[in-house]
Structures are given as structure tokens and as C-alpha cells.
Amino acid sequence: MAVQTPTRTSTTEARHAQEPPRNGPPWIEKWGGLFFVAPFGVLFAFFLLWPTVAGLWNSFFNTSLAGVKQEFLGLQNWREMFGDPAVWDSLKNTLVFTAMSTPPLVIIALVMALLANRKGLLGWLLRFSYFAPFVLPATVVTLIWVWIYQPGFGLVNGLLTAGGFAEIDWLNDENRAMLAVVITTVWWTVGFNFLLYLAALQGIPEQVYEAASIDGANGRQKLFRITLPLMSRTTGLIIVLQLVASLKIFDQIYLMTDGGPNYATRPIIQYIYESGFTSYRIGYASAISYLFFAIIVIVAVAQFKLFSGKKEAV
């Protein structure tokens, strides 16, 4: 993740600098590399750079989706945004979702990796079970879970009533809907963090454990004194990746609750979507997009600081 190679690259370049040119005429030698970058560069310019700039531009105008007339508004969209309670409510929902979903998505992933780090058929079966939901499309996941949360004959409520408990109308209860979405999300996406942890676990040399065994360490000591400390950098990486992923929440909530009941789960991206595609207010949607963008950049910069600092320590 972290950028750390400029010194190495420049020394290898220096070593090869005295190579005689072998790529044809001098202008090809000088500019030829650009052709390798060009196909990606053109797509990047068209479908990433341009919309990024256009979004910022639009946020200063009163643009509708029809895009016929544009009226310069200056900072009016931005001022409206900061005074719009729906912006703050949806931002709060996004942050609540992030705060609720990140801890289980990290802790359960670590537990799963410790459990599934074994060879043979059992290892294969465990890895398959833990990761399988991750490969499903959001829609398949939500179809299944809406059915599971169904009042009356859904699986969860069926079990609750069979056990003598009262039914919960998960998705229509303002106080439970977010929890229901978080449970679904943990089930669906924990597999990715699980694989990151598993890769890190498999990277620990076997000799470390053998040496510890010779010194008389038991299983618990190996876990707490060797494995978990060696996992700390991976944990940092997973937490940051997860924070960014959780902040981008949209699919599950939109498909399961449509932001309801009574907007109790509507995330900021859904509000961007509704401002742009339901209210047709391109300029306003763009301003909110940039507010969200700023939050992601802050998290990412914090991540970079965290990791460039940590790298020296390890």
C-alpha cells in the first residue's frame, strides 16, 4: 500500500543508464515509453479525470440532468449543503454504519484466519465457507437476507418464535434496521479481511514457531507473544481498508431498506444519488460528492501517515 521505492528505482535506472539505445531513432528512445502508458492514460483522462473535474465545476452551477441551461451560482450549492439537515443525517448514518461494522469485520476475520490456517480438506472447507459469501453480488445477498429477516416465516423470526421470544421486524424498525444491515454486511464481506489475515499468517516462517516450541512455549503463548504481535501491521492495513470500504456503503442499504424506515439508514451516497437522479440537481449532488470525497481523502492521508511512520518501526 505505502509508496516506498523511489530510491531503489533510481539506483537501478542509474545502473542501466549507460546502455546503448536499442529502440530505433532517438525520438522513439525518448518518447516511446509514452505509448505504453497512452491507452490507460486516455481512459483515465476520459473516465476518471474529466468527471472529477466536471463534478467540481458543476457544483458551482445550477445544472439539471437535462443539462440545457446552466446558471452560475458561486458557492450557493455549498452553502445550502452545509445547512441541509439531510446531508448531516445521511453522513451520520454512514459514520454509524462504519463504526458498527468495522470492529466485527476485523475481529471475526482474525478469528477465522486463525481457525482456517490448516492444510487438508478441513482447511479447504473452512476457507470456502468463510469466503464464499464475498463472491456473491450485492443483490443476491440482499434477496437472501430480506427473506431471512422476514416477519412471520423468515428464518430469524422463525427461530425467535420457536425459542419463545418475541418477533422483531428487523428492516422496518428504526432502531434495528441499521443493525440488520450491519449483520448482513459482516456475513457478506468479512471473507476479504479473512483472506488478508490468512495471507499474513501464512507468511510467518515456520521456524519462528519451532524455535518457540523448543523454548517450551505453549499454544497460548505462541498466539499472544508471536502471532498477534506479528499481525499488528496487517491489522492496521485491514482497519484502514475497512474504514474506507464502510464509508462507501450504499448497495446493501439501498437494496434492503431503501434508506428507511423514515431515512433512519440512508447513507450519504444514497443522498448523492437521490439529489442527482431523483431530484435532477446535478450541481447540488456534485457539491455533496465533494464533501464525501474530502472525507475519504482525510482517511487515506491519515492512513499514509500511519503507515509511513510504522514502516520504519517494523
Binding site: 502508458v37 481512459l43 476520459f46 472529477t52 440532468l65 465457507s129 464464499a132 443483490t139 443476491v140 462507501k248
Partner: protein, 279 residues
């Protein structure tokens, strides 16, 4: 029973295995419940108390879902989109990564800086201006409209460039002495040497493209152009409350990638390690 201490099944070891299997069972239950429901006759799905296994298993639900036909069309669309996205992403990313790793041209550092900055831009931020752009280009409700924005994956270029940086230049120099062009070197030296990371990038690009919901949802309005995730979003409404049919379409929609994952588990697991941790 073996004699050594390590091999004996001690209580903690058994407890760990039981815990691992129980957790796996919890994770599989929703999937099994979906399959279970899809095999029930329609009236049995809404029975209380709930029944565990269908009294008389039937494939009726699958038959009606397939007869309506749209799911096959969505399969086709998803396949076309995911294959195009994966192959184009690999193509342009490998070329760009080689360009940034091995060639020098004026402005290379600046361009790479812009690419790194591009990693930070969440696709969700771009939906509105990108849709405007696509309708301007007449690409709404087309495969290219769905595919092209997904091909721009700066993080893949970054991962591949870092990998290429670590590949020894000796092979390349040898090929050059033999008169190979740089394009030839990319194809017959760099690509074979980076096969594991390319498989990893390919698998994750494919899963991402197959499962992508937001962008295809925005850029398609015509049901015949929808991909599986987008098409299935409307299923709840169109089938009413026929849960066996809804679950049958969910199972059909999830099956292809589950099979792919079961077959390529080793590559997926190792790929995450290569791309995620070292990248």
C-alpha cells in the same frame, strides 16, 4: 493413537476444530436456507412454524424463473461485461505498468503522481458527472458504457508496476540483445514472469465487474441490457411475494462465481496475499 505429544488430540485442539466448524456452519446457513427455500413448493415457503427441509422437493421455482427468460439474458450481459472489463483492464494496466516501471519519457513522474492521486477518487463520487458524460456520448444502455469506466483501475497499475520493479532486468536485456522490441518483451518476458499476480488481478477484476451494482444500475434503464446484480434488484417487485422463485433466482445469480471460487480457491487465496499485502 500416535505416541508423540504433538499428534495427540487434546481437548483444546478438539474445541478449536469444533468452534471452526460451527462458525463455518453459521456462515453457510443463509446460503443453505436460500437453496432450501428454492426447492420448496410455493405455499410451503410461507408456512408457520417454518419447515426445515421441503416436504416434496421440486424444481418448479427454477423452471418458472428460467421460463421468464430475462435471467438468461442478464447472465449473458454479465458475462460480456465481466470478460471485457477483465481483459481490457489487464491489457491496458500491464502496458501502463511496464511504461512506468521500465521506460523513461518526459513527464513520467508527473503522470505517475496523477495516477496515484486517482487511486483516492472513489467511483461513487463520479456517478453523476460520469452519467452526464455517458449520455453525451450516447453510451447509456450500452456494453461500452458499462465497461469503459470500470477499466480505469489505477490501483491495478500501481500493484503491477511495483511487481515489475522487482523483476530482474537480466531477462529483458537478454531478449533485447536478441533483437526483441519492447512490446515483444512485455508479452514474452514480463507477462510470463508475473503470471501469479496477473491471475490475482484478473480474478479480482472479474469478481468486481461481475458483482458491480452501482455503475451498471445507473447507466442501464433497458431491462434487456441489465447485468445479473441490476436485473435481480427488480425481481422482488416483479415476482410479488413468491419466495421460492426469488430464492431460485438468487441461487442462480450467485452460483457462477461460487463455482469459480471453489475451482480456483488456491489462486484466490494466494492472489489476495500477493496483491493485498505485498502490493
Amino acid at each position: 493413537m500416535s505416541g508423540t505429544v504433538e499428534r495427540r488430540f487434546t481437548f483444546p485442539k478438539v474445541a478449536i476444530i469444533v468452534g471452526a466448524v460451527l462458525l463455518a456452519a453459521v456462515w453457510l446457513v443463509p446460503l443453505l436456507w436460500a437453496i432450501d427455500t428454492s426447492l420448496k413448493p410455493e405455499p410451503e415457503t410461507t408456512q408457520t412454524p417454518i419447515t426445515w427441509l421441503p416436504g416434496a422437493p421440486t424444481l418448479d421455482a427454477y423452471q418458472s424463473v428460467l421460463e421468464q427468460g430475462s435471467i438468461l439474458r442478464w447472465f449473458l450481459n454479465s458475462t460480456i461485461v465481466a470478460v471485457l472489463v477483465t481483459s481490457l483492464t489487464l491489457l491496458v494496466s500491464v502496458l501502463a505498468a511496464y511504461g512506468f516501471s521500465r521506460t523513461t519519457f518526459p513527464g513520467r513522474r508527473v503522470l505517475f503522481g496523477i495516477l496515484i492521486a486517482g487511486i483516492l477518487v472513489p467511483p461513487q463520487v463520479l456517478i453523476v458527472p460520469l452519467f452526464q458524460e455517458m449520455s453525451g456520448l450516447g453510451l447509456v444502455d450500452t456494453y461500452w458504457g458499462m465497461v469503459l469506466p470500470q477499466v480505469v483501475a489505477p490501483v491495478m497499475v500501481f500493484v503491477l508496476k511495483k511487481f515489475f520493479d522487482g523483476v530482474s532486468r537480466d531477462f529483458e536485456d537478454a531478449a533485447r540483445v536478441d533483437g526483441a522490441t519492447r512490446l515483444r518483451i512485455v508479452w514474452s518476458v514480463m507477462v510470463p514472469m508475473s503470471r501469479p499476480i496477473l491471475v490475482a488481478v484478473g480474478i479480482f477484476t472479474f469478481i468486481g465487474a461481475w458483482n458491480n451494482f452501482l455503475w451498471p444500475f445507473i447507466v442501464t434503464t433497458d431491462p434487456s441490457m441489465m447485468t445479473i446484480p441490476v436485473g435481480l434488484a427488480n425481481v422482488q417487485g416483479s415476482y410479488g411475494l413468491r419466495y421460492a422463485q426469488i430464492m431460485a433466482s438468487a441461487v442462480l445469480g450467485g452460483l457462477p462465481l461460487l463455482i469459480v471460487f471453489a475451482l480456483f480457491q488456491r489462486h484466490v487465496v494466494r492472489g489476495v496475499g500477493d496483491a493485498g499485502i505485498k502490493g
